[in-house]
C-alpha cells in the first residue's frame, strides 16, 4: 500500500464520519453556497459544522501550508481529497474569494505578517472578501483606474468608486486597486491594497441584475483611511499582483460551472420530459445537444486537471488561465441554456415556490456574466492571441 493509498483510506473514513448528510448531494442554487464571514449565513446548522470541521483540517485550502492554516497536502493528495469528496457527493464547505483569489496573491506577494494575519481566517471562513477592480466607464480596461490614494505618511486617504464588486454589501474586507501615483502612465502607479469594509467612509449600493439578484455592488470610498501595512506587493506595482490574481480568478470562474456540481443535464431532462421506448430522452434534438455539451464538459474537466498538473510541474504558461477562463465561461453559459431547454416551460417560472423562486432561470441569467466578469471573453482571446500564439499586433 502506497502512502497515497493510505491517505485515501484515511480520507475516506474521515469524510464518511464528518460530512453531514445535509452537506451531500448537488448544490441546487447559488443560495445554497456557504460564503462564511463575520455575518455568515448557513442553509442548515450542519453546514456550519461541516465548514468548522473542514476549516480545522485546513481542507478548505488543501494545498496551502499548514503554518497558515492550510491543509499542507501535495497535489496528488489534494486530487485524492477531491475525488473522495466527489465519491460521496460532498458539497464544497466554503465558497470564498479569499481562498480562490486573495490567498494565492498573498502567498506570492504578501509579507509574513500579512500571511499570518489573513490566511488562517480565510481558511476557516471567518472573513469574507470582495474584489475592487473595475470602475465606472473602465469596463475591462483596468489600466484606466481613477480611484486615488493620497499619501499621508503612515497611511493613505482613498477616494473614488468601484463597480462590479461582488457581494461587497456582505463582505468584511475588500482587496482593490488604487492609483498611488497620478503622474505615472496607465499601467504603472497603481497599487494593490486591503481595506476593511467597516472603515469610516466606505459605502455600498447593490446593482440589480437581470437575474433579479444583486450580487454586485457599487462601492464608494469617501476619505477612507488605509494603513500602509495593508499594501500588498511593491508600491505602484499593483498591476503585477492584479495580473497574478486575475489569472487565478479566471481559472476559478472558468471552473465554477464545472466544479460547482449540479445535476447532470440529461438527468434533469429525462426527469422533466421523459424517455422513449428505447430509453432515450424523448426530445431527440435536445438530446444530441446535451450529449455534445457533456463531451465538452468532460473534456474541460480534464483540461482543468491537466493545467493543475502543469502548474505543479512548472510547465504552465501563465496565459493558460485565460484559455481556461474563456472556455469555462462559454461552456457554463451553454450548460445553462441547455438546462433551460431541459426544464422547458417549468423553468420559465420566476416567483413560484415550485420553481424555488425561479432558481433555474435566475441561475441561467447569472451565467451570462461569466464571460464578462474577470475580463471578458474577448479580452481572454486577445491575451491568447498575443501571449500564446504570438500573432502580430495582438
Amino acid at each position: 500500500m502506497t502512502d497515497l493509498d493510505t491517505f485515501r483510506a484515511e480520507t475516506r473514513a474521515w469524510l464518511e464520519a464528518n460530512c453531514p448528510a445535509e452537506c451531500r448531494g448537488p448544490v441546487e442554487s447559488d443560495e445554497d453556497r456557504v460564503w462564511g464571514g463575520r455575518n455568515a449565513v448557513f442553509p442548515t446548522p450542519a453546514h456550519k459544522t461541516w465548514l468548522d470541521r473542514m476549516g480545522a483540517k485546513g481542507w478548505t485550502a488543501p494545498e496551502w501550508p499548514t503554518v497558515y492554516g492550510g491543509g499542507g497536502l501535495s497535489r496528488e493528495q489534494a486530487k485524492v481529497l477531491h475525488s473522495e469528496m466527489r465519491r460521496i457527493d460532498a458539497q464544497a464547505p466554503l465558497a470564498s474569494f479569499g481562498v480562490w483569489m486573495l490567498g494565492p496573491a498573498l502567498l506570492a506577494f504578501g509579507t509574513e505578517e500579512q500571511k499570518q494575519r489573513f490566511l488562517p481566517e480565510i481558511v476557516r471562513g471567518e472573513i469574507r472578501w470582495c474584489q475592487g477592480y473595475s470602475e465606472p466607464g473602465a469596463g475591462s480596461d483596468l489600466a484606466a483606474i481613477q480611484t486615488r490614494a493620497e499619501d499621508k505618511g503612515d497611511h493613505w486617504i482613498v477616494n473614488g468608486q468601484k463597480v462590479w464588486t461582488s457581494y461587497a454589501d456582505k463582505a468584511d474586507w475588500i482587496f482593490c486597486l488604487v492609483r498611488t501615483d497620478p503622474e505615472a502612465s496607465k499601467h504603472l502607479g497603481i497599487s494593490f491594497v486591503l481595506i476593511d469594509m467597516a472603515t469610516m467612509g466606505v459605502s455600498t449600493r447593490p446593482i440589480t441584475l437581470i437575474s433579479g439578484k444583486s450580487p454586485f455592488c457599487e462601492t464608494f470610498f469617501d476619505d477612507v483611511r488605509v494603513e500602509k501595512e495593508n499594501l500588498v506587493g511593491t508600491l505602484n506595482r499593483g498591476w503585477d499582483v492584479a495580473k497574478y490574481l486575475l489569472a487565478h480568478e479566471r481559472t476559478m470562474i472558468g471552473a465554477m460551472g464545472e466544479l460547482g456540481g449540479g445535476r447532470p443535464i440529461g438527468q434533469v431532462a429525462t426527469g422533466s420530459i421523459g424517455m422513449d421506448d428505447d430509453g432515450r430522452l424523448d426530445e431527440p434534438m435536445l438530446r444530441a445537444r446535451i450529449a455534445e455539451m457533456e463531451i465538452d464538459a468532460a473534456a474541460f474537466r480534464l483540461a482543468m486537471e491537466r493545467a493543475g498538473d502543469q502548474v505543479k510541474a512548472g510547465q504552465a504558461h501563465p496565459a493558460i488561465a485565460s484559455m481556461l477562463k474563456y472556455y469555462g465561461s462559454e461552456l457554463n453559459k451553454r450548460r445553462h441554456e441547455l438546462l433551460m431547454a431541459a426544464g422547458g416551460s417549468d423553468a420559465l417560472e420566476w416567483e413560484s415556490d415550485r420553481s424555488r423562486h425561479g432558481s433555474a432561470a435566475r441561475d441561467w441569467l447569472r451565467t451570462k456574466a461569466n464571460s464578462i466578469e474577470g475580463g471578458t471573453s474577448e479580452v481572454q482571446l486577445n491575451i491568447i492571441a498575443k501571449h500564446l500564439l504570438q500573432l502580430p499586433g495582438a
Binding site: 473595475s134 469596463g139 475591462s140 480596461d141 463597480v163 462590479w164 446593482i207 440589480t208 441584475l209 437581470i210 433579479g212 422533466s272 420530459i273 421523459g274 426530445e283 431527440p284 434534438m285 435536445l286 445537444r289 453559459k333 441554456e337 433551460m340 431547454a341 426544464g343 422547458g344 416551460s345 417549468d346 423553468a347 420559465l348 417560472e349 420566476w350 416567483e351 413560484s352 425561479g358 432561470a361 441561467w364 441569467l365 451570462k368 456574466a369 464571460s371 464578462i372 466578469e373 471578458t376 471573453s377 474577448e378 482571446l381
Partner: protein, 372 residues
C-alpha cells in the same frame, strides 16, 4: 405573392410600431412588472388595440375584425416583439381566434367580435408537460349526460389567469376535441404563472369539469386539424415576435458599438466584433425571410405550409437566441444590469423559444417530414 411587404402591409407595420412606441414601449412592461400588477397585462391597452383594428386582424369583417391574413398578423407580432409588450394578441387574437373561426355560428358570434374589440381574452390550453407536445395530450373528456366531463392539467396557457374563456384540447374516444370552457365552471383551477419575461401564462387544472355538448368547437374527435392550423399560425407569429425582439436587441447593440469607447477605441472598430455582428446580421436576414416565407405559405394555403412554419420557428428561435446573447456580451457589464433593456430581450426570447415548440421540436418535424 412575394416575400416583401406590400404597401398596405408596410403601412400597417408603421401604424403598429408607432402605436406601440407611443402607448406601450418597454417602460410599459417595466411598470406592470415593478408594480407587481395583479394581471401583468393591461386590459385598457388591449381595448385600444381593438380600437386600432389590431386585435382583430385575423377576424373576418362580419365579426368586426379587419379580415386580414397571416402576414398582417406577423407584422403585429413582430411589432410586439420589438417593444416586448405583454398583450393577449398571440393567445387570443391569433391562437384562439383561429380556432374559433372553425366553431359554430353561435360560437363565432359570441366571441370573435369581443376579441376583435379587445374586450375578451380567450386562452388556448394545449401543453401539459414541460415541452410543447400536442401529440401527447393526456387530458380526457368523457361523455357525461348531454355533454362531457373533463379531467387533466394544462400549463403555459397564455393569459389563462385573466381569460374570459378557455379553449381546452382533450382526448375523446377517437381523437382530439376542442372545448370552450368557462373558467368559472366548477372544477376549473387556475394559477397564474409569473414568468421570467414578466409576460403572462397560467396553469389550469380540470377536475371533473362538466360542459355541455355545445361547448365542442368543430366536431367531436375532429379537433386535430383545427388545432394544428391554429398552432401553425401561432408558431409563425411567435417566430415573427422572435425576429422583432432579436432584431431590436441587435439594433440596440449596433448603436452601442458605434458610440461606446474602450481601450481608446470605439468598440465597433474591433474587427472581431464586426465579423460577429455581420454574421448575426446575416442570420437575422435569413430568419426574416423564413418567417415571411411561412406567413405567405399560410396565406396561400400551401400544402407544405406547416413545414415552412417549422423552418421559421426553429430558425427565428436560434437566431434570436444568438442575437440576445451577443447583445448582452457586447454590452459588457451594463448588459447584465436590470436597468438596461437588453436583458429583457434575452428573457422574452427564452419564453418565445419555448412557446409552441422550440427549435428542437421543429427540427424533429423537419426530419420526420423528410423521412429520416
Amino acid at each position: 405573392m412575394t416575400l416583401i411587404l406590400t404597401e398596405e402591409q408596410t403601412m400597417l407595420k408603421e401604424a403598429a410600431d408607432g402605436f406601440l412606441n407611443e402607448h406601450a414601449p418597454i417602460a410599459h412592461l417595466r411598470k406592470l412588472r415593478d408594480s407587481k400588477d395583479a394581471d401583468g397585462v393591461s386590459r385598457e391597452l388591449w381595448r385600444a388595440f381593438g380600437e386600432m383594428g389590431f386585435a382583430g386582424v385575423l377576424i373576418p369583417e362580419e365579426h368586426g375584425g379587419s379580415g386580414l391574413g397571416a402576414v398582417e398578423a406577423g407584422v403585429m407580432a413582430e411589432a410586439l416583439g420589438r417593444t416586448l409588450t405583454p398583450s393577449p394578441f398571440l393567445g387570443s387574437g391569433v391562437l384562439s381566434a383561429t380556432v374559433l373561426k372553425g366553431g359554430s355560428a353561435e360560437q363565432q358570434a359570441a366571441w370573435l367580435p369581443r376579441i376583435a374589440a379587445g374586450e375578451a381574452i380567450v386562452s388556448l390550453a394545449v401543453d401539459e408537460g414541460a415541452k410543447h407536445a400536442p401529440a401527447r395530450i393526456a387530458t380526457v373528456a368523457e361523455r357525461s349526460g348531454n355533454g362531457f366531463r373533463l379531467n387533466g392539467a394544462k400549463g403555459f396557457v397564455l393569459d389563462g389567469h385573466v381569460a374570459d374563456a378557455l379553449i381546452v384540447a382533450a382526448l375523446t374516444g377517437d381523437g382530439l376535441t376542442l372545448f370552450l370552457v368557462d373558467p368559472k365552471t366548477a372544477g376549473v383551477g387556475i394559477e397564474r404563472t409569473v414568468m421570467v419575461d414578466a409576460h403572462n401564462a397560467a396553469r389550469v387544472t380540470l377536475t371533473d369539469v362538466e360542459v355541455d355538448a355545445d361547448a365542442v368547437i368543430g366536431s367531436v374527435d375532429g379537433g386535430e386539424g383545427l388545432l394544428e392550423g391554429a398552432l401553425n399560425l401561432g408558431r409563425a407569429c411567435a417566430a415573427a415576435s422572435l425576429n422583432g425582439a432579436g432584431d431590436q436587441a441587435f439594433q440596440t447593440t449596433m448603436a452601442y458599438l458605434r458610440t461606446r469607447k474602450q481601450f481608446g477605441k470605439l468598440i465597433g472598430e474591433f474587427q472581431a466584433l464586426q465579423h460577429r455582428s455581420a454574421h448575426l446580421f446575416s442570420e437575422i436576414e435569413i430568419a426574416r425571410a423564413a418567417v415571411m416565407g411561412a406567413l405567405t405559405a399560410l396565406d396561400a394555403g400551401r400544402d407544405n405550409a406547416g413545414l415552412i412554419v417549422s423552418v421559421a420557428k426553429a430558425k427565428a428561435g436560434r437566431v434570436a437566441e444568438l442575437a440576445v446573447q451577443e447583445a448582452v456580451q457586447m454590452h459588457g457589464g451594463v448588459g447584465m444590469t436590470d436597468e438596461y433593456d437588453v436583458g429583457l430581450f434575452m428573457k422574452r426570447v427564452r419564453v418565445l423559444n419555448e412557446l409552441l415548440g422550440d427549435a428542437g421540436f421543429h427540427q424533429e418535424r423537419m426530419a420526420r417530414a423528410q423521412g429520416f
